[in-house]
């Protein structure tokens, strides 16, 4: 079983986001970058599956050299090798077309992504890869097993849960609860020193879309205390300020 895991690199969840150039550029200054948490779930599950059934896990990242520490971390967590496509993608389409070009003749049994990257949240790479590679793609899975050469996946649906079986190869995206992500241990970190990290130049198209500008949400204001015998004021604030009734 050979599995390709797509990882993106995103600002740490505690980052204070700011923009420059008239709110058109994301400011990378002082920002800590991490592996997209959903992708870490996909990676951990891929490792568990190959540890049981044999095979290799390859991680692929479409991005610049500045993201190599995160790729190295994926190797330290246990991936066998890594590919970096040397291009900062503008959107999901660019990332997915690079990954599809790379993967199309490699015969992976599974291609896994996160349900979305927590920076731009487009959540499209899984579906796009399915379309580009003509493979079934199953989104937002919280359970993934391989039984008798078939994938068995579980998903949350409105008011319940569904279990799906699907032949291989397939594309699937990982959701919370799939597994507890692994923390690299010392042996893994040492082993990562000598694992291959191959850098390939991009082959796909660019500039499908472009970012125009960003807006930040209003800063959260402090809690307003209203005395229990002043319900009228509470209703006025909910209607006029919060605008929720």
């Amino acid at each position: 079983m050979n599995i390709l895991v797509c990882i993106s690199v995103v600002p740490d969840t505690t980052t204070k986001i700011t923009f420059t150039d008239n709110n058109s550029q994301f400011n990378r200054e002082g920002v800590q970058f991490i592996i997209n948490p959903y992708d870490e779930l996909a990676l951990t599950r891929a490792l568990e599956i190959t540890e049981k059934s044999g095979g290799e896990v390859t991680v692929i990242h479409v991005g610049g050299v500045e993201n190599e520490p995160s790729i190295r971390k994926a190797l330290a967590i246990g991936a066998h090798k890594a590919i970096r496509i040397n291009k900062n993608p503008n959107d999901a389409q660019e990332a997915a077309s690079e990954i599809a070009n790379y993967a199309k003749d490699k015969g992976y049994d599974m291609i896994l992504t996160g349900r979305e990257s927590i920076d731009y949240n487009s959540g499209q790479v899984c579906g796009l890869l399915g379309a580009m590679l003509s493979l079934p793609s199953i989104n937002v899975v919280m359970g993934l097993d391989v039984v008798d050469g078939q994938a068995v996946l579980t998903r949350d649906i409105d008011g319940g849960r569904e279990t799906i079986s699907c032949g291989l190869p397939l594309v699937a995206s990982a959701q919370k609860d799939l597994v507890e992500p692994r923390i690299p241990n010392m042996r893994g970190i040492m082993a990562a020193r000598t694992k291959p990290l191959e850098v390939l130049e991009p082959t796909g198209e660019s500039n499908f879309s472009a970012h125009q500008s960003y807006d930040l949400p209003e800063p959260k204001s402090a809690v307003k205390m209203i005395s229990p015998d002043n319900a009228g004021e509470l209703i006025r604030l909910l209607r006029e300020e919060a605008k929720i009734i």
């Binding site: 520490p69 190295r72 923390i183 241990n185 010392m186 970190i189 040492m190």
Partner: protein
């Protein structure tokens, strides 16, 4: 918080995600570290947040050692990461070792103590002074946590002055017969092996590996500590214990043996104490931004800002001190006095920061809801063991003046 439960799964479920520590790095010291150093540090931090922080307060309140953490500690490289790979260790440099100690003590000094004792006071002397056979027999198991060790130097009547020790052995064929007692020994109650320093018939100090199960060897636990409550401390009592001569370190005699180990451990402590200081600072900083009195967050008051500004200044100085000391260790150039300076300084600033940070939390700082008071109490042991604060001052004084003021 209910302190009665030591159910690990329940504690983890109840407290997961509450540790939101962010490290101060005012001078961009991360730029001085390698990519791998940062990966190691962040991995240990993630482990501490997931495995240690959710349970540690309850273990400390109950004065119980969290045995279940040993396997994870071994995996993250807490036990002898600086020793060679061929003995099952990490083969990492001293900077990595320091960062690991910093992160563990950021969680709790007691757990860092267990790691320091194992890596620097048990594994390091076996590596440095032991025979090849001793190394092969003990190091891989100590690195994996399958075996735990303790270090017996201090005696009831000889603490700061270990040269006066009375624990001793006499030869008897292929064995020696060991008598005496050690006190205040971290890990003693559960250790499988003890590296014990004792005098031979000529009165020379030798290192000897005593194994659990040897007849006449007992390890009664020391109860009612107000500090390092999540670390087990005990005595080592030797009543005519027969130990094979093959368990003696052949290569070293005199105080140089134990002092060499202490240098390695003290180096780790200087990073560890910094970790405790960072946790106190970060806790106080977050609290002060949220706690509103007189209509504004207390972080807006000058008195609180003075505390925070001074804390981050001391932390930054301490970070630079251990970063440089790490490089000196890596180059094999660090002197005992340089290590004393870092241990003494960093534990002192940590204690001061803990006390100031505690006050910033007002009444909340008194409870186990926040880690500060646990750190503060822990640091009272850290400022005492591995050479008291006074003793490190005397070492430094001796170094700069050439005059011995110990006696």
């Amino acid at each position: 918080m209910s302190a009665s439960s030591l159910n690990v799964e329940e504690l983890k479920a109840a407290h997961q995600g509450k540790d939101r520590f962010e490290m101060p790095d005012f001078y961009g010291i991360d730029d001085l570290l390698s990519e791998e150093h940062i990966l190691i540090r962040n991995s240990v931090r993630d482990w501490v947040k997931r495995e240690l922080s959710p349970v540690i307060e309850n273990y400390a309140q109950e004065a119980a050692f969290p045995h279940h953490l040993i396997k994870g500690l071994a995996e993250i490289g807490a036990f002898g990461p600086q020793l060679p790979v061929e003995y099952g260790c990490g083969g990492l440099d001293y900077t990595a070792y320091g960062l690991i100690m910093q992160e563990i003590e950021r969680g709790d000094s007691g757990i860092r103590s267990t790691a320091s004792v194992q890596g620097s006071l048990v594994m390091y002397p076996i590596f440095k002074f032991g025979t090849e056979e001793q190394k092969r027999k003990f190091l891989p198991k100590l690195a994996s946590g399958e075996m735990m060790g303790c270090f017996g130097l201090t005696e009831p009547d000889h603490g700061s002055n270990p040269a006066g020790m009375t624990t001793h052995f006499v030869e008897d064929g292929d064995d020696v017969i060991l008598n005496g007692a050690k006190m205040w020994i971290s890990n003693a109650p559960f250790a499988d092996v003890a590296v014990v320093w004792a005098k031979n018939e000529e009165g020379k100090i030798k290192g000897i590996i005593v194994e659990r199960g040897m007849e006449g060897f007992t390890t009664p636990e020391t109860h009612n500590k107000w500090s390092l409550r999540a670390s087990a401390t005990g005595e080592l009592v030797f009543d005519n214990v027969r130990v094979p001569k093959s368990n003696i370190f052949p290569e070293v005699s005199g105080l140089k043996g134990p002092l060499t180990c202490l240098n390695s451990a003290r180096y780790g402590i200087s990073w560890g104490a910094l970790g405790a200081a960072m946790d106190c600072y970060d806790t106080a900083l977050c609290y002060s931004k949220q706690r509103v009195q007189f209509g504004r967050p207390i972080a807006g008051f000058q008195l609180q800002q003075k505390k925070l500004a001074e804390m981050v200044t001391e932390i930054t100085k301490a970070q630079l001190l251990v970063w440089r000391l790490g490089n000196l260790m890596n180059e094999g150039k660090a002197t005992p006095a340089q290590i004393s300076m870092a241990k003494r300084n960093n534990v002192e600033i940590a204690l001061n920061i803990a006390r100031e940070a505690r006050q910033m939390l007002g009444g909340m700082g008194i409870t186990g809801e926040f880690p500060i008071m646990r750190h503060m109490a822990n640091l009272e042991s850290v400022v005492t063991y591995e050479g008291t604060h006074d003793i490190h001052l005397l070492i430094l004084g001796h170094e700069v003046t050439g005059e011995n003021a110990f006696f």
